[in-house]
Amino acid sequence: MIVRKDFLLFILKKLGKVIFTVWVVTTLIFFLIRLMPSNPIQQYIQNLVVQYGVTYEEASSRASTLFSMDLEASLLSQYLTYMQDAIRLDFGTSFLSPGVEVTSIIAARLPWTLFTVGSGLLLSFIVGTVLGAVAAYRRESWYEPIISGTSSFLSAIPDFLIAIFLILFFGVFTWGGRGSIVPIFQLRGNFSPGVTPGWNMPFISSVLDHAFLPILTYFFSQIGIWVILMKGSTAGCLNADYATIARARGLKPRKILGSYIGRNAMLPIVTEFAMRLGFIIGGSLIIEQLFVYQGVGLELLKATNNRDYPLMQAIFLVMTVAIVLSNLLAEILYGVLDPRIRAKGGRKGAK
């Protein structure tokens, strides 16, 4: 019973931090929009006054409706209404496409990003942990330097440069005079223009064709980290008591690696995986620009280039919330998997 109370306290503390972080980010955005000299509202009013000869009052009332902020009210009450809207997930309508709710734009774009980045992350996680465990277990083998070298090489190179190399390799260079491996029209967009979205074969295959290179990019840009982490974690478990005993019992190496060492080595990696889940949404900006992939990242870029502030702030908030929540998930997972952490966190909270 005591343990459970500790655990509850632990989670409550973490939840408090989540709420605090989200509050900091929303407040930051409010100050950027409202308080900075030459903030977007001021610029909008200036623009109306100078270019269209509208009076200042008229312009500022227009700005009020557009930004859904009562500019006459005091700063504090403006801030309060802004926070109320944010809590109700009401981020207003997009400037660029008037009348369209910001949330509906995000809802339309989010699945694409989740699909590509998520599958890239999952694939690289599976392949990377297996390779890392093997590299640590067979440290004397000839292929260990190849695995370690390649993964440290891949983890150093920025993801968008990997994307450029992949585009050149698959989509541009002609191999043996037969044309490129991936036809160049598949390098852009989410699916081919001819197909109708829905659960039909041509659409699904077109989506997969178009997602191939982005997923491959995410795969290559993350696999190095998994190999390095898993290798380090496995190396730490190699000489643990249970591994020595398993060896003494004469178990097969594959069994030792899989059931004894691998399982324990996975603990820290799983929490790292939960943490990285959050970067699924935010980590795709440049890649989506390169592949003209219509996801959240590209939408944020479009919004930034066109100064579409409601959209910008909502997407940025979504990205932050994703990371904050996945951090929470990682911390809870860690507490569940490793009772020592939970006990420590609980006692600290109780103090």
Partner: protein
């Protein structure tokens, strides 16, 4: 009392260490002979140093190219419409760009600004990190707790999207970007330096300095910092890497006005549709490769620095 506890803890730790060591040797003896193990170790050490040396050589070559190169290979000031997007030739051995200018000359002059700004960013960030990290660890108490909490919160804000959003509000100049980048990356460095200082704080020479009532500035700059130089240098190169990533990324997205660097070249080459023109592929490929080399050299240097100063990590 405290002394006694420390003593007993040390004994306990030693016991555990001895046990794991005997286990390790037993394990190794059964597997391989001593000789081949030692050979392995030497090869490993050489390899690691090789990587670090390679990184250093590449970095020096890039710096040399960017400082002295422009004297021999000046940028083409005027465009030449007759030589647009040419394949590599004897005259232009990386070909020409969409305005008929030599690409090699652009590569040679494209690194200077990037390097200077990355250096500036890393310097400011390291200064902030040392200042906050060292004081937070030495003073402790409420200040320390608050800073650790704030760093925790700060680290969850996605940095690159934040930069993109910020560039929507301000027109960032190159120097302003360097400063903003440095300020944005305070939390990570603060954490690592704080941890390092905390571990140094319990070492004898620092405790003695505290007992002698030395001023805080003396303790930080004369006792602690000299013992962290390798650690700081390793982090410095990693910060430079992050700065280059952010700069090239923002420039590629067209959110940052910079006149001549490799990121701009990638941006222009991409927007000119170079990938549809196999002859002029070096316009895109050359800056990409140089950026990769620069970043790899920085990462390699930092890795071997860490291994030299932190032999405990070697496994």
């Amino acid at each position: 009392m405290e002394c006694w506890i420390r003593e007993s803890v040390r004994k306990e730790v030693e016991k555990v260490q001895n046990r794991t060591q005997t286990q390790a040797t037993l394990h190794n003896l059964t597997k391989r002979s001593r000789l081949s193990r030692n050979l392995k170790k030497i090869r490993r050490a050489l390899m690691q140093d090789l990587v670090g040396t390679m990184g250093l050589v590449i970095l020096l070559l890039i710096i040399l190219m960017s400082t002295l190169g422009p004297i021999w290979f000046p940028l083409d000031e005027v465009s030449d419409p007759e030589k647009i997007l040419m394949a590599p030739s004897a005259e232009h051995f990386l070909g020409t760009d969409h305005l008929g200018r030599d690409i090699w000359a652009q590569i040679v002059s494209g690194g200077r600004e990037l390097l200077v700004l990355a250096f500036l960013t890393a310097s400011i960030a390291v200064l902030i990190g040392i200042f906050l990290g060292a004081f937070s660890a030495l003073i402790g108490g409420k200040l320390d707790e608050t800073l650790v909490f704030l760093a925790d919160v700060w680290l969850t804000i996605p940095r690159f999207p934040l930069l993109v959003v910020l560039s929507g509000f301000f027109r960032l100049s190159a120097v302003a970007l360097a400063i903003v980048l440095a300020i944005l990356s305070w939390a990570g460095l603060f954490r690592t330096i704080r941890a390092e200082v905390l571990s140094l704080k319990t070492r004898d020479f620092v405790e003695v300095a505290f007992m002698l009532d030395m001023p805080m500035v003396h303790i930080i700059f004369k006792e602690i910092l000299p013992n962290m130089m390798g650690f700081i240098a390793a982090n410095f190169t990693l910060l430079m890497r992050a700065a280059i990533y952010a700069q090239v990324g923002l420039v590629f997205l067209g959110l940052l006005p910079l006149d001549q660097n490799w990121g701009v070249m990638i941006n222009v080459a991409w927007n000119q549709g170079v990938i549809y023109n196999p002859d002029s592929i070096w316009f895109l490929l050359a800056p990409t490769i140089v950026i990769c080399l620069l970043i790899l050299s920085l990462v390699w240097i930092s890795r071997s620095l860490e291994e030299i100063f932190n032999p405990g990590l070697q496994k």
